[in-house]
């Protein structure tokens, strides 16, 4: 048949002058079949199937991010069972989203590790992450893997209650130009991305400007410029180089807008941060590869804080009527990490490696010194995954860590995943991790010094006088989980118990307290705070996440978490302040007892799709700056239309957040959430 066709062609050609000389370059070469190829999906690029993973994982992919209609990155974590997300417009380094898992919620996400492409963005000063200062555009994110539970063996120190691992797209996947716009309630975001290619080099650069006017009746607007760039260079079939650079800078408002505020009044400060990162990946074979990564990151916030006129309190003896505080903070981090992933035989996969880190901090107000403080961290880690039989997968690993503050520690973990039947897996695991005290907890010496014209009289109010010497917090998390695949329905549920010890708690310094030599305590002011290793706590509960594909066009994601915290309020001992001097709020209510969320998405046709989200969070009383907030219920709706114009693909969407304007509160009673509406436009050309 084919030969006859060819013969016909041949005869046709023989009679016409079409039989041109064949040039070899136009021909498909045998190399396509027999030549080498770069090792692309190397063993370290491949993620474990969720059924074999050692911990509970929630994977958020690009589609989910798009469909959820989020405007700010932290909002996406509302879809993770057991996670609490709140907007906070505080007054001191706290105009930030609160993201916490299993309680101990405070203004910082101190008990979770957050990584972007293997780079830790966990800040050593307060712990946690300044979400709006991250040099990342939502459009560049490929997926987010949230580990629910400690995972120090894989992600390092401070991978305590959970780990958020953000992975950006490979530069080869972001070719061409894109424009992304968001307009609406107090928002005006403009992003442009260009991705290009030069032989084996793929690169992209994303620039953006974000205008965020913040919450109603709060002083919390943000102006942000973002630049982020990534280049992926395929040096040989076995070597790949990756370079990243990012910048985030702009102005941030913060401050206490209440009329009785004396200091940390509404003001605007400038922040900037940037990072440079390089990674070399070498693949020895499809089953063994090595990576070496190094990065430097820097962040700075310029904040000059002024008090109200203090003459009303002190009379005319002041050297200056107002108090000025230099509240500049500078963080710098250098980190280098080597990792070898290999699979010596089919059923065994191993990772091991080590890293070194240097953090340098200058924070004159907090540390009562203009000197730069350094913190060193070294770690060695290893992890093995063994498919013991077709029904049993065992995971085991450990991290050994040494740091300047708390010395050396080991965090081991182990788990077994047993397949009851195809698509039905039971996982039993135990995992441990440590959280190193933050600078806030270990070294804060925040004080207000009021000089007077009277010789020898200088007033002082010490806000913090950290006693130091804290031990790291410890967690031992046990769980039993079940993963079920019922065709169109996927279930992931677990019962857990997190046993935490040495929990670091804020307290008043022990009595008797006296002001430092040479200073006079301002009469009537409270004693300073310090931090102590407090009591133990147990967090127990149940989590469920499910995905139900109702049809090929309709999908329902739902999750539910029930979390109870148990522990003793009282801490006693010779060095500890009496219980009445502890902060009155206890951590028992620092997690919402019940959280439920659901996202229903439907595609009407290739052009129209819509999603409906519902979030319900029961009462929560956050620690630190937080105040109790009652049950919050809100629904979001997103409708999107895709379109195509000659060489441009686009999507226009309309988003309504808090559709029924329930005026619920997040984190503290001053963060009142009304209805917000946005329009977004994306063009790819």
């Amino acid at each position: 048949m084919r030969t006859r066709f060819l013969l016909a062609c041949l005869m046709l050609c023989a009679n016409t002058p079409c039989a041109a000389e064949t040039s070899a370059s136009k021909l498909l070469s045998e190399d396509a079949y027999l030549g080498d190829m770069p090792n692309v999906l190397t063993v370290s690029r491949l993620s474990q199937p969720i059924a074999d993973a050692p911990s509970a994982v929630t994977v958020i992919d690009r589609d989910m991010i798009r469909e959820s209609g989020i405007v700010d990155l932290p909002e996406i974590f509302r879809l993770v069972p057991g996670m609490y997300v709140g907007s906070n417009a505080g007054y001191l380094q706290t105009v930030n989203s609160v993201v916490s898992y299993h309680g101990m919620t405070d203004a910082y996400s101190r008990r979770m590790q957050v990584l972007i492409d293997g780079r830790s963005v966990y800040e050593p000063l307060y712990g946690g992450v300044q979400w709006s200062d991250l040099p990342i555009a939502i459009a560049d994110i490929e997926r987010i893997e949230v580990t629910r539970g400690p995972n120090a063996a894989s992600y390092g120190a401070n991978s305590f209650l959970g780990v958020i691992n953000i992975i950006t797209q490979h530069a080869s996947e972001t070719q061409g130009s894109s424009v992304m716009l968001a307009r609406g309630s107090g928002r005006n975001d403009t992003f442009y991305r260009y991705g290009g290619k030069l032989n084996d080099l793929n690169y992209r650069i994303t620039i953006g400007h974000r205008v965020d006017d913040g919450l109603q009746r709060r002083f919390d607007s943000k102006r942000t410029d973002i630049v982020s760039a990534r280049a992926d260079y395929r040096a040989t079939d076995r070597d790949e180089l990756e370079f990243q650079f990012g910048y985030n800078g702009g102005s941030r408002q913060e401050g206490d807008p209440f009329p009785d505020a004396l200091i940390f009044l509404p003001r605007s400060k400038d922040v900037q941060s940037h990072f440079q990162q390089a990674r070399w990946r070498h693949s020895f074979s499809a089953r063994s590869d090595f990576s070496l990564q190094g990065y430097h990151s820097y962040s700075r916030s310029d904040d000059l804080v002024s008090s109200v006129d203090l003459v009303q309190f002190f009379g005319p003896i002041l050297r200056s009527p107002t108090l000025l505080l230099d509240n500049d903070v500078e963080n710098e981090r250098y980190d280098i990490e080597a990792q070898h992933t290999f699979s010596p035989w089919q059923s065994l996969r191993m990772v091991w490696g080590g890293s070194m880190r240097l953090d340098q901090i200058t924070a004159p107000f907090y540390l009562n010194s203009r000197d730069r403080d350094s913190f060193h961290l070294q770690r060695v880690f290893g992890h093995a995954e063994w498919q013991a039989s077709p029904r049993l997968v065992m995971n085991a690993g450990a991290m050994f860590e040494h740091n300047d503050l708390t010395g050396s520690d080991v965090s081991p973990r182990a788990s077994a995943n047993f397949r009851l039947a195809p698509g039905h897996t039971v996982r039993v695991g135990i995992s441990t991790a440590l959280r190193t005290p933050t600078y806030l907890e270990e070294k804060f010496m925040g004080r207000f010094v009021v000089p007077t014209t009277i010789p020898g009289v200088t007033f002082i109010q010490e806000q913090f006088r950290d006693q130091g010497g804290l031990k790291p917090e410890q967690i031992i998390a046990k769980e039993i989980g079940y993963l079920g695949d019922f065709g169109s329905l996927n279930l992931d549920m677990r019962l857990f118990e997190d046993a935490m010890s040495n929990i670091i708690r804020q307290t008043k310094v022990p009595s008797p307290y006296s002001a430092p030599p040479g200073f006079i305590r301002i009469p009537g002011t409270p004693k300073p705070f310090t931090y102590i290793n407090g009591p133990d706590a147990r967090v127990r509960g149940f989590e469920l996440q499910s995905q139900w594909r109702l049809s090929s066009e309709t999908r329902l994601l739902a999750s539910y978490a029930h979390v109870r915290i148990y522990g003793q309020q009282e801490v006693t001992g010779p060095d500890v302040a009496p219980p009445e001097q502890l902060l009155e709020r206890h951590f028992l209510d620092s997690a919402p007892r019940n959280t439920f969320n659901a996202m229903l998405t439907h595609r009407f046709n290739p052009y129209w799709d819509a999603s409906l989200m519902y979030y319900q969070t029961s009462r929560v009383a956050a620690l630190g700056d937080g105040t109790p907030v009652e049950l919050a219920r809100h629904a979001d709706l997103r409708i999107a239309r895709k379109f195509e114009l000659t060489r441009t693909r686009g999507e226009l969407s309309a988003i309504a957040q808090n559709l029924f304007d329930t005026q619920y509160k997040e984190f503290a009673d001053y963060n009142v959430m009304g209805r917000r509406a946005y329009v977004t436009l994306r063009l790819d050309f």
């Binding site: 070899a24 021909l27 045998e30 027999l34 190829m37 090792n39």
Partner: protein, 318 residues
């Protein structure tokens, strides 16, 4: 030196034979096999060694290897009337310029390239044939069916070259009740967009060789993007599987050599009928990337069992 002289003598003798009988292809004259290689690679060496082995063992035939340099330095080195086995596209292109009455069998060549060379050289298909590198589409579909029995559709990206045989794939997938989700790519910058569009709807991506769509450079984005969509890619070579495709059915140079030896022996028995029509590889292997399979949560039986079952599908037991 002695070899040169001998070859010279043979050349003269065969030239005489050509002049005298004007019937070029006789069993006697083709007792020698000339393997034409333009660029020595591990694959060509593997092929030649195996071919030599097969022919020597079975029929005592000697294989004469001629390289491009030898050919250009001394055109006489091919100037006998042996059957020319051209290894690779370049060699086939060279061989197509030889005396039109000479029998040429192309091996380790993709079908689109053979078709083009045949058309452009206006050679007589009776004396110009090939064993392709391309696996027949029904075999590839059978592989997909056996490792992913539940899939109902199949995504394919065609480029200008592979588009010529798209109707064959349409037939093969129809026969197996698979819906073909086809995207045609005419320029490199369309690749990512069309790849994504295809991955949004298709359950598995079948890679079909095309210089524009599937090459060393595009392998990276195709494999990464497909993996991001958690969709398996069925490759066309062992290297593609190593790079990150889920599986591939392919033929090694040795397997092609075995088939080539069979064709040569048959041909020498009945030279007057000319060469058999171009054919797909008869012997093949299946390779599976276990790491990828595991990560995608796909369970696949042993490679040998898979290729046995594909053999059985093609040649059902009586």
């Amino acid at each position: 030196m002695a070899a040169m002289t001998l070859r010279h003598m043979v050349s003269i003798a065969s030239a005489l034979g050509l002049v005298i009988c004007l019937v070029p292809l006789t069993a006697l004259a083709q007792s020698r096999i000339t393997v034409l290689i333009t660029m020595p690679t591990p694959a060509t060496a593997e092929f030649t060694d195996r071919l030599r082995n097969e022919l020597d063992r079975a029929s005592g035939l000697k294989v004469n290897v001629v390289t491009e340099e030898m050919l250009s330095a001394d055109r006489d080195s091919l100037n006998d009337d042996s059957l020319v086995v051209a290894v690779g596209v370049q060699a086939l292109l060279q061989a197509s310029k030889l005396d039109p009455r000479r029998s040429v069998l192309g091996v380790l060549v993709p079908q689109p390239s053979f078709d083009k060379i045949l058309v452009d050289s206006r050679r007589n298909p009776r004396y110009f044939s090939a064993v392709f590198l391309d696996q027949p589409y029904p075999r590839q579909i059978a592989l997909i069916k056996s490792i992913l029995p539940k899939v109902s559709n199949l995504g394919v990206l065609f480029g200008p070259t592979s588009l010529q045989s798209s109707y064959l794939l349409q037939q093969a997938s129809q026969a197996s009740n698979l819906t073909l989700i086809q995207e045609n790519i005419y320029a490199t910058d369309e690749l990512v967009t069309k790849l994504r569009r295809s991955l949004e709807t298709s359950a598995v991506l079948l890679a079909v060789p095309d210089p524009l769509v599937y090459n060393r450079e595009t392998a990276q984005s195709i494999l990464l993007t497909s993996y991001r969509y958690q969709k398996p890619v069925i490759g066309f070579s062992q290297a593609y599987v190593r790079a990150g495709a889920l599986a591939a059915v392919y033929s090694t140079p040795q397997q092609i050599a075995r088939q080539t030896a069979e064709i040569i022996r048959q041909h020498l028995n009945k030279p007057q009928t000319g060469l058999p029509p171009p054919q797909s590889p008869k012997y093949f292997s299946v390779d599976v990337n276990r790491q990828v399979a595991r990560s995608l949560g796909i369970e696949i039986s042993d490679e040998n069992a898979l290729s046995d079952s594909l053999q059985r599908i093609e040649r059902p037991l009586p």
